[in-house]
């Protein structure tokens, strides 16, 4: 079933067609900038709130639980290995077209983190919650400071 229902047989005389053409150009933010530069170096950082004892990955500069600042000493490197919390296989593209081959998307809790990260799962076969996975980075020369510097996660 397509995610977007296609409307057929519009009465052309009574519908006005148009498009919304905008481009979002997004900065990563103060914490995001540093976190992405970390990925570029092959490192995954988190920030740990000492008050709430919660570690955010991706790293943030404030704790949403207490609104306290997560300053320099809150930054820690987390492991590139973690546990698969949940996963899905996506067979339909956002425009409703079939996606061949399908993509597999996982929620991963890296060792040392509390928050989970969403990313691609790499490799064939079945996946199961609780599996151990590890990060796969692009070769250093291809990294640009993007979430795509991580290709995804594969079975450990």
């Amino acid at each position: 079933m397509p995610l977007i229902e296609r409307i057929q047989h519009l009465n052309e005389a009574r519908a006005w067609r148009g498009a919304i053409r905008l481009e979002g150009v997004y900065t990563a933010g103060v914490a995001g900038e540093r976190w992405l530069r970390g990925l570029q170096e092959g490192k995954i950082y988190g920030t740990r709130c000492p008050r709430c004892r919660y570690t955010y990955v991706p790293a943030r500069r404030f704790c949403e639980r207490c609104l306290g600042e997560l300053s320099e000493d809150a930054w820690i490197e987390v492991a590139p290995q973690g546990t698969l919390i949940s996963w899905t296989r996506v067979h339909v593209a956002p425009d409703g077209a079939p996606l061949v081959p399908p993509r597999t998307i996982g929620l991963i809790r890296l060792d040392g983190a509390d928050a989970v990260l969403v990313h691609e799962l790499i490799g064939d076969g079945e996946w199961a919650s609780g599996m151990r996975v590890e990060a796969v980075f692009r070769p250093p020369a291809e990294r640009v400071g993007s979430i795509r510097d991580l290709l995804g996660f594969r079975r450990l």
Partner: protein, 388 residues
């Protein structure tokens, strides 16, 4: 006065910048954490959160307020988004007021944010989608059209000149030179600078318009028993009002903002104000364009129709005049991150009444001030009156 007494007890804001490295969430957090710090409160003392932000298209984030919520301290709290376009900043404070006045909550954190720099090729593009999709958008409009059309109607009806109106931009940009968060403060700007700036959509020229801006503002509001514990200088909400005109803007009298008058009359009645020109000591009317400040002063009944420009020309609206208007520097000077700009005006009245406005302080210990915002398709007026 309806409901329980409500005070503003703290305020904070980001510097207003043309484009921020910070994400919208981070901007919200910078303002929210400053506001809490200013009244020595922590997030666990906040009962509910009100978030305000203008169209999602600016930040390019659908359901923007849900996205912003972590930075606004909304985690695990009752949270609501108010949205009346450009009128949002003042409306968010009104929402904070009724959350507490109703007896539902004792403390509310109100946060407004806008990150317009995300929108390319220009934030103007996002405004195209406020025009009627079938009858107006095919004509290829841009946002400036409606302001220019309204400004021309106003100027023509009352025989005002561009020079009369440019004096507003001069006053506000000069006032903003003393605002530590300002993007466009300029102590030396002159009427000639405004009149010689590039024509965008006559009669609107470049310096008649407030700039594209990123920023956030937050205030903390509290019920009386909490407010008296938190601070010895609570600033009370004395009156609020809001009203909406028809969306059919081409059917309206564009020379007068009836909806602002309706909102103001509600707020004056609630505050027990009979003679607003004597009883309001400071005004922060919404000034995204210079003529709008004049338009709104008239709608607020603080000037006769067509006569607001005289307040500016005679210096009555200066910071040391009889009725200071936009002592902050306003949207024209401090900047216009839409919803945040409206809440900045509320924060300015708060700081002025507490005597904490620094170099911008209005002399004579003002006791009552009014902030007003305006928006949607030029159709909403939102008014709040604060007093000590």
């Amino acid at each position: 006065m309806a409901g329980r007494r409500v005070a503003i007890v703290g305020a904070g804001m980001t510097k207003f910048v043309r484009r921020a490295l910070e994400t919208g969430q981070e901007l919200a957090w910078e303002a929210a954490s400053k506001a809490l710090e200013s009244c020595e409160m922590t997030l666990d003392q906040i009962d509910a959160v009100v978030l305000g932000s203008a169209p999602d298209a600016f930040d390019g984030v659908h359901m923007k307020v849900e996205y912003l919520s972590p930075g606004a301290g909304a985690w695990g709290k009752p949270t609501i988004r108010g949205y009346v376009g450009g009128g949002t900043g003042v409306f968010a404070a009104i929402q904070g007021w009724y959350h507490i006045a109703s007896g539902m909550f004792d403390t509310v954190l109100v946060v407004c944010e806008e990150k317009m720099s995300s929108c390319h090729p220009h934030p103007q593009a996002a405004f195209n989608y406020i025009f009627d999709h079938t009858l107006e958008r095919p004509l290829g409009p841009n946002l400036l059209w409606i302001f220019a059309l309204e400004m021309n109607a106003y100027m023509t009806k009352y025989g005002l000149t561009k020079r009369d109106i440019a004096m507003v931009a001069v006053k506000n940009k000069r006032n903003a030179a003393d605002h530590p968060a300002a993007l466009l403060g300029d102590p030396n700007i002159t009427v000639e600078d405004i009149l010689q700036s590039e024509v965008l959509a006559w009669p609107v020229q470049r310096l008649d318009v407030s700039p594209v801006t990123d920023g956030a503002v937050a205030i903390v509001m509290a019920a009386e028993h909490v407010a008296r514990r938190v601070t010895n200088k609570p600033v009370w909400v004395e009156g609020v009002g809001w009203s909406l005109d028809t969306q059919y803007w081409t059917n309206r009298d564009l020379s007068y903002p009836t909806y602002v008058e309706e909102a103001a009359r509600k707020a004056y009645a609630m505050a027990g104000i009979k003679e607003p020109r004597k009883e309001i000591h400071i005004v922060e009317p919404y000034d995204p364009f210079d003529y709008k400040e004049l338009h709104h002063l008239e709608g607020l009944l603080l000037a006769d129709r067509g006569k607001a420009a005289e307040l500016i020309a005679l210096g009555i609206a200066n910071r040391d005049g009889d009725m200071p208007v936009t002592p902050s520097g306003g949207l024209l000077g401090v900047g216009n991150p839409i919803a945040a700009a409206g809440l900045m005006k509320v924060a300015e009245i708060f700081w002025q009444l507490r005597g904490e406005a620094g170099k911008r302080q209005v002399p004579g210990q003002p006791r009552r001030g009014l902030a007003q915002a305006w928006g949607d398709l030029m159709q909403v007026g939102t008014v709040i009156i604060l007093g000590i």
